[in-house]
Amino acid sequence: MSFPWAKPYEPTHPLMKWMDEKLPIPRLVYNATGPGYPVPRNLNYFWNFGVLAGAALMIQIITGIVLAMHYAANASVAFNSVEHIMRDVNAGWFIRYAHMNGASMFFIVVYLHIFRGLYYGSYKAPREMVWLLGVVIFLLMMATAFMGYVLPWGQMSFWGAQVITGFFSAIPIVGEPVREWLLGGFVPDNATLNRFFSLHYLLPFVILGVIILHIWALHIPGSSNPTGIEVKDEQDTVPFHPYYTAKDGFGVGVFLLIFVALTFFSPNTLGHADNYIPANSLSTPAHIVPEWYFLPFYAILKAFTFNFLWIDAKLWGVIAMFASIALLFFLPWLDSSPIKSSNYRPLYRIFFWILVADVLLLGFCGMQPAEQPYVILSQLGAIYYFAHFLVILPIVSRIERPLPMPNSITEAVLAKHATDTASASATA
């Protein structure tokens, strides 16, 4: 579906006409990301992050395929094969560092994309399906990143695999057999490494498939926008091409500059020194810490230290950690406010920013050893996290009185320009 004023695809060249009759791919592209897709005219830079996440996935797939040509998924040689890539393969150090930091860049843009959705209410009707598919992509990314981190077979790879698969052993009765089934043994070993490599190669293409569904679902109602008001007529929109292809091109440029600075000038900053030590099942690192993008969830896991209601503290932690992501699936129904954009939600906006600070706090605590004051900080952080989504949000959306809203996107844009011009002439 698209808006009635969308520019129709009318091929003029005989070849394009021939193609359109046989396999209308140009028509699909034209209507999806070309002049045939009308998009709200008022999108801000936060709407760049979807395209950036797509770019990050493509970088990961391309660098990953090249790495797989040189990497050996065998516990006895995996570590050295990565160092072989770093030392002997032409530009191997670049491909490897790009893949390693590309994962971080992918998570940075996806987290910004998710928080954009939370602030501007992108998860609300009619875009619930877009949000649900997004949460699926996020889960797949986490699984892929975890298995990818195991592949270099360093100390953090091994012990990370040990700890994370250990979550399953918290489940009563079936937990331990499930864990052994996942690992293919009693501890992470060659069988584990091989299956993780296989799945790490598979899942990005599954992610790609779900992204196609995510974009398809988005194109049914069309993009949301910073006012949260739906498109009403033609003057509310601009064609995707050239307006947003140009803006996204600039966004990709800025993204690549940051990516390149990280990859070439500081490639190990986001990693962990212990992963340059070969995996050793007999020597446990002093602090086992996951990659930075898992830290808030790791902090939630560690915050539960009390056996409550016959459920063991470890199992509480595991359930809470999975619940902290699973609750995102219910978000469109937890928030009953019809107002999408936080620009018009004075009360929710405050709690949104507290949530941002809370997730940062949890991330910081996840990095720290299990000592005070970090334990109590992560407990308080976890309390707010669950309270925000399950208690505060449903209440706020009921009692909040939204600010007056403009009638249309165009009215909002013109009003903004009027105040900009007024303040510009006032300062002049």
Partner: protein
């Protein structure tokens, strides 16, 4: 239905966390070793940073001499091949001669028995021990780690390695008995648990530098650390140089995309 259920689930998690807060002691167990543990001292090298870093080849050569004459008695360097030391400014002939100075494991071509032969440029620095058991047997059951990646594989990196090499000292008088070095251990405040199995490896004038540099413990520590920064990442300088080229290329690309973005949107209020 989602909201009341979610509310109950939320209350469950919150109750478990509140109980956890009240049952977790607020004070940490005292860790006495923390008081004596020192942060690494900063070591400045020519290869540092992103502003025109370079390899100080004279220093790397001195560092390799320290590795060969001192460290290699116990520590392997199994990711570095003799051919790699061309980076340090050695000629092909010098590399061949250097490699010949090492015996590497081989097979007797006539009998098939294990044997050794002279090293070739394509060989890797050989390990001083036949296997881990032999290494532990010779070192009071401690295993000397491979040094190839050591400056990347420790928190604190090169600063830590340099501090550790220069940090051996007599234990302070107020050191609690349980932290005093046991038999075969040596006090070093830069090491995580303060007592290190490695004996102080360097003594003044332990090596004789060909370039006349005075071989103090500090100088040798700096040199061998610089060498180990190179072994950990031989492509480090190249990485920074390529990084500049890529960054400036992309900077121009980004400016152009910005200008075209402004140009396309010039007539559109948004």
């Amino acid at each position: 239905m989602v909201r009341p259920l979610g509310f109950l689930v939320g209350l469950g998690f919150i109750t478990a966390l509140v109980l956890a807060i009240f049952t977790t002691p607020l004070s940490n167990e005292a860790n006495v070793a923390h008081e004596f543990h020192k942060h690494p001292r900063h070591l400045k090298l020519a290869s540092d940073g992103i502003v025109l870093p370079h390899w100080d080849k004279a220093q790397l050569q001195r560092g390799m001499q320290v590795y060969k004459e001192v460290c290699s008695a116990c520590h392997s360097l199994n990711l570095v091949a003799f051919r790699d030391i061309a980076d340090l400014g050695y000629t092909e002939g010098q590399i061949k001669t250097f490699a010949k100075g090492f015996q590497v494991p081989s097979v007797n071509p006539d009998t098939g028995e294990p044997a050794t032969r002279d090293g070739l440029p394509s060989d890797y620095f050989p390990s001083p021990y036949a296997n881990e058991v032999a290494a532990r047997a010779a070192n009071n059951n401690a295993l000397p780690p491979d040094l190839s990646l050591i400056t990347k594989a420790r928190e604190g990196g090169k600063d830590y390695i340099y501090s550790l090499l220069t940090g051996f000292q007599n234990p302070p008088k107020n050191l609690p008995a349980e932290l005093k070095p046991g038999t075969g251990l040596h006090y070093n405040p830069y090491f995580a648990n303060l007592n290190l199995a490695m004996a102080p490896p360097l003594a003044p004038n332990q090596v004789t530098y060909a370039d006349g540099t005075k071989a103090t413990v500090d100088q040798m520590s700096k040199d061998v650390t610089a060498f180990l920064v190179w072994t950990a990442e031989p492509k480090l300088i190249k990485r920074i140089q390529v990084g500049y080229a890529v960054f400036f290329f992309l900077l121009i690309f980004t400016v152009l995309t910005y200008l075209s973005y402004r140009n396309i949107w010039a007539d559109k209020k948004h």
